[in-house]
């Protein structure tokens, strides 16, 4: 599982985010794997003090697993590469949360991320989660400032959960704890945060071993034998592990399968159509400016109970991966269908996301051809219809079913002239409500078309439902990434060859030529260069025992699994290189950067720096942003190859 490149990358990420001490400890743990404290101290050559501080903080960040063995009572430490890797994805996650649930949720999320795990009561005291967010505009924003002063006096105590006036006046929503708790609940309901459990701080293997020990020592298990014993142990172990690691907070926070606080419609991006299907009747007029208020409003009536303040929460990366994967799916849909269709797709995916805890059940990505079909939960069409923005023009983006006119006279076709889309579909004799559902169905059908088959239709109990075949679409994403690389490196001819090989399996040169219709010379060149690059390979099938080349059949093949695993390593390496280069660039400019970071200069750059220096600073920032951006783009590939 662990490779050199991955370990290197994780260390770099830890070092980059938390400094050299963490980096040193992390690197040592990676190199020597599991260590107890004396050994760790020996290898890392750190002082006791440094080590204790470092380890404590890293455990808080969940960068290090610790486990105290029952047998000898020694505590072992182990690097948590997964958590380290997710440091690079944090930006993406925050961006996603911001788009989905608003800025405040993002701030809250970043606070939780920054702390690793945090109790609700601690979150309440955090200054950045207090109400003075200048970005929150609109009615509430103004009121917030009024309240602020009161707060500042109170805040020495740190605890004020329910201000009585918070319930009385609508605008008291803006009050900090009141905003914090609904947001926390929303995050919890979406499954983006979890209750931190003790088992989260030890490695999965330890948890499993512990559970196994518990199971095998039970008297009823001890009496079993042979295969039955094995099976029962595995089953019970999984049960215990699940129970131990399960931190799901969404229970009871969902309403009809939709998390509380989930925004209907399109969210902040299209703030002029705040459609609330659940409460479709109320106050559309005065709420137009602030989407984020909707859910606060909705909850005003039915739930003002704050989150338990002793609750400790952490980020649920598994669930966020599901959400991010859906973003990629939508991107795929956008690529070859209209924006409207993509939006319909998004509604479907969002519904699915609420019920999908993780991307896949197996730890490793199954081998191509061996992975079974794995459909998401089916979502009834009517539910999607509820979610899709009512003002979305569904009919305008699909052509008519039949063109009676031949194509030579196109452009003069009177079909859609003057007649708008809805009445066009109205010819089917459907009432407007059900015709909308029908149109929606049409969009989903469009998505179900080859080549991507992004959706698939199911009839469950007479209801039309839609699902997504996860493994298939994930595979498409994977192939697409590989194809992009092949095209960029070896040209479109190579792309054609690879696609032929992928579709047809192993082929000899002649057959390959017949299908790909390429001249021998080009074909050989491209195959040879791809073989050097490790993208295609050659299999020899001797016709007799002598294995003479002249009596041997040579078959070309393309194995996406093999290529993908190689590419994944390359991606890790490329990410490391970007970070290392950044470090190097930083060291080149060290003196200058130290100057800009001086406490008197920072924030007053214009005052202290010369024009040339300002320009340099700007360039440096752009450079840094570019390199980080590149790392994040590479992370997208990692996600496709490893996580989806």
């Amino acid at each position: 599982m662990t490779s050199q490149n991955y370990a290197e990358l994780c260390t770099l990420l830890v070092e980059d985010s938390f400094g050299e001490l963490f980096g040193r400890i992390f690197a040592t743990l990676e190199r020597y794997d599991r260590l107890n404290l004396p050994r760790l101290k020996f290898y890392s050559r750190l002082t006791d003090r440094q080590l204790h501080h470092g380890l404590a903080a890293m455990i808080q960040q969940n960068l290090v697993f610790h486990y105290t063995s029952y047998d000898d009572g020694v505590t072992y430490y182990e690097a948590n590469q997964h958590a380290a890797y997710y440091l690079t994805r944090s930006g993406k996650i925050l961006e996603f949360i911001e788009g989905r649930l608003g800025q405040y949720a993002a701030t809250l999320m970043s606070a939780i991320m920054y702390l690793g795990h945090a109790s609700v009561s601690h979150l309440e005291t955090l200054p950045e989660l207090r109400p003075e967010q200048p970005h929150r505009n609109g009615i509430n924003g103004e009121h917030k400032y009024k309240h602020e002063h009161e707060h500042e006096q109170d805040e020495a105590n740190g605890e004020h959960e329910d201000q009585p006036n918070g319930i009385d006046s609508e605008h008291a929503l803006s009050e900090q704890p009141y905003l914090l708790h609904p947001t926390l609940k929303t995050l919890a309901a979406h499954g983006y945060i979890l209750r931190a459990r003790e088992a989260h701080f030890q490695s999965y293997t330890d948890t499993v071993l512990d559970a196994e020990r518990v199971v095998t020592s039970r008297p009823d298990i001890k009496s079993m034998k042979g295969k039955r014993l094995e099976e029962t142990v595995i089953e019970k172990t999984l049960e215990i592990v699940k129970e131990k690691t399960d931190g799901d907070l969404s229970h009871g926070l969902k309403y009809n399968g939709v998390p509380r606080g989930a925004k209907q419609g399109r969210g902040a991006a299209q703030s002029n159509d705040p459609i609330k299907t659940e409460q479709a009747d109320v106050d559309e007029d005065d709420e137009e400016d602030e989407d984020e208020n909707e859910w606060s409003d909705n909850e005003l009536g039915n739930d003002t109970v704050p989150m338990e303040s002793s609750l400790i929460v952490r980020v649920n990366y598994e669930k966020l991966d599901v959400a991010l994967r859906h973003c990629r799916f939508i991107g795929l849909a956008e690529q070859d269908s209209s924006a409207v269709t993509a939006e319909v797709y998004e509604s479907l995916l969002r519904r699915i996301e609420y019920q999908t805890p993780r991307c896949r059940d197996t730890v490793e990505i199954p081998r191509e051809g061996e992975e079974g079909e794995q459909y998401s939960v089916p979502i009834p069409l009517s539910a999607i219809a509820e979610d899709v923005d009512q003002q979305l023009d569904l009919s305008g983006s699909i052509g008519p079913m039949d063109i009676s006119q031949p194509f030579s006279r196109r452009g003069k076709r009177p079909l859609e002239d003057g007649v708008n889309g809805t009445s066009n579909e109205g010819t089917n004799g459907l009432s407007s409500g059900s015709s909308r559902t029908y149109e929606l169905d049409q969009h989903l059908c469009l998505l179900a078309q080859p080549p991507h088959n992004l959706t698939s239709k199911r009839i469950v109990g007479g209801l039309i439902t839609w699902t997504v075949e996860y493994r298939y679409v994930a595979r498409i994403l994977r192939h697409l990434e590989l194809e992009k690389m092949i095209e960029a490196r070896y040209g479109d001819v190579a792309l054609r060859v690879v696609r032929v090989l992928h579709a047809k399996g192993k082929l000899d040169e002649k057959r390959l030529q017949e299908i790909s219709l390429l001249p021998f010379k080009d074909l050989r060149q491209v195959l040879a260069s791809m073989q050097t690059g490790g993208y295609v390979d050659l299999q020899e099938v001797p016709r007799d025992a002598q294995r003479q080349p002249s009596r041997t059949i040579f078959l070309w093949f393309y194995d996406p699994d093999r290529v993908a695993s190689g590419v994944l390593e390359d991606v890790y390496k490329a990410m490391s290189r970007c970070l290392q280069r950044l470090k190097f660039e930083r060291s080149r400019l060290r003196e200058f950067l130290e100057k800009t970071e001086r406490s008197d200069v920072k924030g007053n750059e214009e005052q202290y720096l010369s024009e040339g220096e300002l320009k340099m600073l700007e360039q440096w920032k752009a450079k840094e942003a570019l390199l980080f951006g590149e790392v994040s783009r590479l992370d997208n590939m990692v996600a496709v190859f490893r996580d989806y």
């Binding site: 699909i398 052509g399 219709l517 783009r633």
Partner: protein
């Protein structure tokens, strides 16, 4: 007697030519049935056929169940054959027997048992008289093959419509492929009449982000709903190609299917209903634009790439010594020559 046999033979030949198609296989019954040979005299008839065979007007063949059979040869061909030496005639017959598929020189040798130098001489003289021609076989490009000069090589030999002289005709393929893509794309998208086009609908494009902003003058295309029946079938595409006049020869459906499959692998078309109908990925305008761009700067059309990803952008993705790269090594991120130009290019300073 001999004279009468010759006369009778000539009569028989004329009757055969008049009553049967030229490639008919004659058995004894057929010849007797013509009523030319009196009293169904079998020995006489055999004498006649033997004369005709000697005159190269008949070719002796073994029919079903090893029965004797003959085929007639036209008089002009017979004249040709009469002038051949026995060896040449032997070789000619062997080559003739393989028809449109042609025969490998070594196979002629084994079948005729002639010495190589004699065979070479025969082949040379036959080729000089323009009776036979050498052909390229795509399957065995190194073999020297011959067939009769008057025949067109079969598809097995030429490799189908896409080969010219045993070599893939890339230009021809590209032009036909381009034509097909455009034709199909015109039928795969609904063109919005220019009158109604509120700007909020986004122009649909295939891969690139080029045409994402619909300008007011541009045409708009919409996808057809699923299950749309109007996508062109193989037959329609074949007909269109043959009518277009871009091909010197008529292309069969198999050849077109071959090309359509290739276009699918090129990500240009999508096969629906398991290859019965096809639709295009890009709409006509985008196809036109892409085709117009091709002959120009080849490396300038980055837009044609699928979409770029992290690895193709980063310098590491194209680095030839990426494998050797390690911090502190001879190739290292610190000493990398590619990062600086890349940063400069990306940031523009």
């Amino acid at each position: 007697m001999a004279g009468s046999v010759t006369e009778l033979a000539s009569k028989l030949y004329d009757a055969c030519q008049a009553n049967f198609p030229s490639d008919h296989l004659f058995y004894q019954q057929d010849l007797l049935g013509l009523g030319v040979v009196p009293k169904n005299d079998l020995p006489l008839m055999l004498q006649c056929t033997q004369t005709l065979v000697d005159q190269k007007l008949f070719r002796l063949l073994a029919g079903k169940n090893d029965r004797l059979a003959w085929k007639i040869i036209s008089r002009e061909d017979a004249d040709k054959l009469q002038n051949l030496s026995p060896d040449e005639s032997l070789v000619y017959n062997v080559i003739h027997s393989t028809g449109r598929s042609g025969i490998w020189v070594r196979a002629i040798q084994t079948r005729t048992n002639l010495h190589k130098s004699i065979l070479d001489r025969c082949l040379k003289s036959l080729e000089g008289k323009n009776y036979i021609k050498s052909v390229h076989n795509v399957k065995f490009p190194s073999r020297k093959m011959y067939m009769l000069a008057g025949l067109a090589p079969s598809e097995d030999v030429t490799g189908g419509a896409w080969f010219t002289d045993g070599v893939l005709d890339a230009n021809f393929i590209n032009s036909v492929a381009g034509y097909i893509e455009y034709t199909v794309s015109r039928k795969s998208w609904y063109e919005v009449p220019s009158a109604d086009g509120p700007g909020k609908k986004r122009l649909k494009t295939g891969a690139g982000s080029v045409a994402m902003k619909p300008e007011s003058g541009e045409k708009q295309y919409l996808p057809f709903p699923a299950g749309y029946q109007g996508y062109p079938t193989v037959g329609m595409i074949t007909a269109a190609v043959n009518e277009s006049g871009i091909t010197p020869v008529r292309l069969g459906e198999e050849s077109i299917v071959q090309l359509l499959e290739m276009l699918c692998f090129d990500n240009k078309l999508i096969a629906l209903n398991s290859g019965e109908v096809y639709k295009s990925v890009k709409h006509p305008e985008a196809v036109k634009a892409a085709q117009a761009r091709k002959p120009g700067g080849e490396d300038a059309d980055e837009i044609d790439y699928l979409v770029r990803n992290g690895m193709t952008e980063a310098p590491c993705g194209q680095c030839p010594v990426f494998r050797l790269c390690a911090p502190g090594g001879a190739v290292s991120p610190e000493t990398c020559d590619y990062f600086d130009p890349w940063l400069e290019k990306a940031l523009g300073f």
